[in-house]
């Protein structure tokens, strides 16, 4: 009797395990496989993308695809544009949003509630509602096709303010008070006492802002008309707007757009996830 109970128990335990792992493994394959296939595509000729049985092994066309891609969109120029725009954007936006978040969390002043509420409510306004006036504004000042136009409009990113504010709230105000009694200036308190303990939060917010700008599509599509000012997503999109599409170079392009971010993500998972989730970083 005892042994049958044990085997029965083992069996249902085994069943639970299969029931648990099988769907997860299927989801895993669905999540990961497109990345693998993308890299395979980047190393193969255009025609290999549609063979039956499917081509699942690496080819030797990467160099050819890369040079074709460069001929079509000037890949290094476009990559440079995207990197420059994203990095400058992160540096400026992080500074501006952090300063604002600090004021909104550590000080009491007139209009605080109103300002915070308006900032948060603006997150609900679809970006498309600001697109046309922004375009006209840039056009009026002859700023289309400039780095300024690509960087400026979203420098105040309410979500980043929200994220930093949560972390400032958790910072002990007593430490600031102690420094004030010692006669330290407000800027000094901010830079030497508060900011050094905010490094994880700043990293998470910076990563979020970088990803947002790196992947941004609609505004760069509108704000750039000459191909030497295209950002990476706009250049990629232009590759499939032609009548005869070279899928090899397209796959190479999307691989270059994706793999660095994935590697970056794998190295800094914690900061990525807390940044994207908007949760406080501990």
């Amino acid at each position: 009797m005892a042994t049958t109970t044990v085997t029965h128990k083992n069996k249902s335990y085994f069943g639970t395990k299969v029931g648990l792992y099988l769907p997860l493994i299927i989801t895993l394959i669905i999540s990961i496989f497109p990345f693998y296939w993308m890299i395979v595509g980047a190393t193969n000729h255009s025609s290999k993308m549609f063979t039956n049985p499917p081509t699942l092994s690496f080819g030797n066309q990467l160099a050819t695809n890369l040079s074709n891609l460069n001929d079509s969109v000037g890949i290094w120029r476009v990559l440079f544009n995207s990197l420059l725009v994203s990095l400058v954007y992160v540096a400026l936006s992080l500074t501006i949003c952090t300063l604002a978040a600090y004021a909104l969390s550590k000080f009491e002043f007139k209009g605080k509630r109103v300002i915070f509420t308006v900032l948060m409510l603006s997150m609900m306004i679809p970006y498309q509602a600001t697109l046309i006036p922004l375009f006209r504004l840039m056009a009026d000042f002859h700023l289309l096709n400039t780095y300024f136009a690509l960087i400026a409009p979203q420098l105040v990113f309410p979500f980043a303010i929200f994220l930093m504010r949560q972390n400032f709230i958790a910072f002990p105000t007593a430490l600031m008070e102690a420094a004030r009694i010692d006669g330290a200036g407000e800027l000094k308190i901010f830079l030497t006492i508060v900011i050094p303990s905010m490094k994880p939060a700043l990293a998470a917010t910076a990563i979020y802002l970088f990803m947002m700008q790196w992947n941004n599509f609609m505004w760069p599509l509108v704000a750039t008309t000459s191909s030497n000012m295209y950002t990476f997503p706009v250049a990629l999109s232009s590759l499939i707007g032609v009548s005869i599409i070279d899928y090899g170079q397209v796959m190479t392009g999307i691989t270059i757009a994706t793999i660095p971010i994935i590697i970056f993500f794998l190295l800094l998972q914690k900061q990525f996830i807390s940044g994207m989730l908007g949760s406080a970083v501990k």
Partner: protein, 283 residues
């Protein structure tokens, strides 16, 4: 102490100035623009003309319909899948939780344009997905060339990208559910499924509401996927409000009309967020 009064305003100033120029001004300007019409090179007041035109515009209705079909089907499927995956990852029996978590989250960091293009290649008539379906005896599906297929393609692609993201949110929230609730349910004879329905889901209600609102707002603005994956086609089968705003603004350069559509989206977002709060949230 009086010198301290102005300090927060100095910290806030750069953000406030930029916010007024690049957010407040455009929001108000496009509201005004939505009541204007181009007349001999300048925009002049046109009353509700743009909004009246919307009521007779079949493409607008099509875009509205498509956006809602995608919203009503995609968001619930994705959120339910995310909930199920999160509770599977939360199981004590599971090993390699971190590995699964990171792998499922990975699609959420890929560029919207890149994944849309990738899916547009995978889903072609002689593409990889149809070949794989062939192995299990399913005939090739015309993903991108039929009205239904194109909508399904967008739904599949969005679900691929965003499920893991929502799952990680749920998984984080599940850590805060007191273990006693499960023990009590277990003593009452509730199985894993009943525990999921009666403990997990009610406990996660505020988080589910949050993800539903975020997904709704972003789906109503859907642009990158229809632009790159289906190009709004075939016909106008995947024309979305976001794509239609872009077309009117930057293909036909009808800024007044495009602004009117954008404001319809603003109103819909406001109404839906309000309804979702009322229906799901008590506090």
């Amino acid at each position: 102490m009086t010198r301290n009064r102005s300090i927060p305003y100095w910290f806030l100033m750069p953000a406030l100035i930029l916010f007024i120029i690049f957010t407040i001004y455009p929001i108000l300007s496009s509201l005004i623009l939505s009541f204007e019409k181009l007349d001999q090179g300048t925009y002049v007041f046109a009353g509700f003309a743009n909004y009246v035109r919307l009521f007779h515009d079949t493409v607008f209705y099509k875009a509205l319909e498509n956006t809602f079909i995608i919203l009503v089907i995609q968001v619930p499927i994705m959120l339910i899948l995310a909930l199920i995956l999160a509770s599977a990852l939360n199981s004590k029996l599971l090993k390699l939780r971190g590995f699964f978590r990171v792998s499922f989250f990975m699609p959420a960091v890929t560029s919207l344009v890149a994944y849309s293009i990738l899916f547009s290649i995978l889903l072609q008539d002689n593409g990889l997905i149809n070949h794989l379906l062939g192995y299990v005896g399913i005939k090739p599906v015309h993903w991108l060339t039929t009205a239904i297929g194109a909508k399904v393609s967008i739904i599949l692609a969005m679900t691929w990208r965003w499920t893991g993201y929502n799952m990680v949110i749920y998984l984080a929230a599940m850590q805060n559910i007191p273990e006693e609730l499960y023990e009590a349910a277990s003593l009452d004879g509730a199985g894993k499924f009943r525990q999921f329905i009666n403990v997990t889901v009610p406990q996660l209600k505020p988080v589910i509401l949050f993800t539903a609102i975020i997904s709704t707002i972003s789906t109503l603005q859907l642009f990158d996927e229809p632009y790159n994956l289906t190009k709004g086609g075939p016909g106008d089968a995947t024309m979305t409000l976001g794509l239609y705003i872009y077309q009117n603004g930057f293909k036909y350069f009808d800024f007044g009309y495009a602004s009117a559509i954008a404001y319809i989206v603003v109103i819909i977002v406001a109404i839906l967020s309000y309804v979702q709060f009322k229906v799901t949230g008590d506090e």
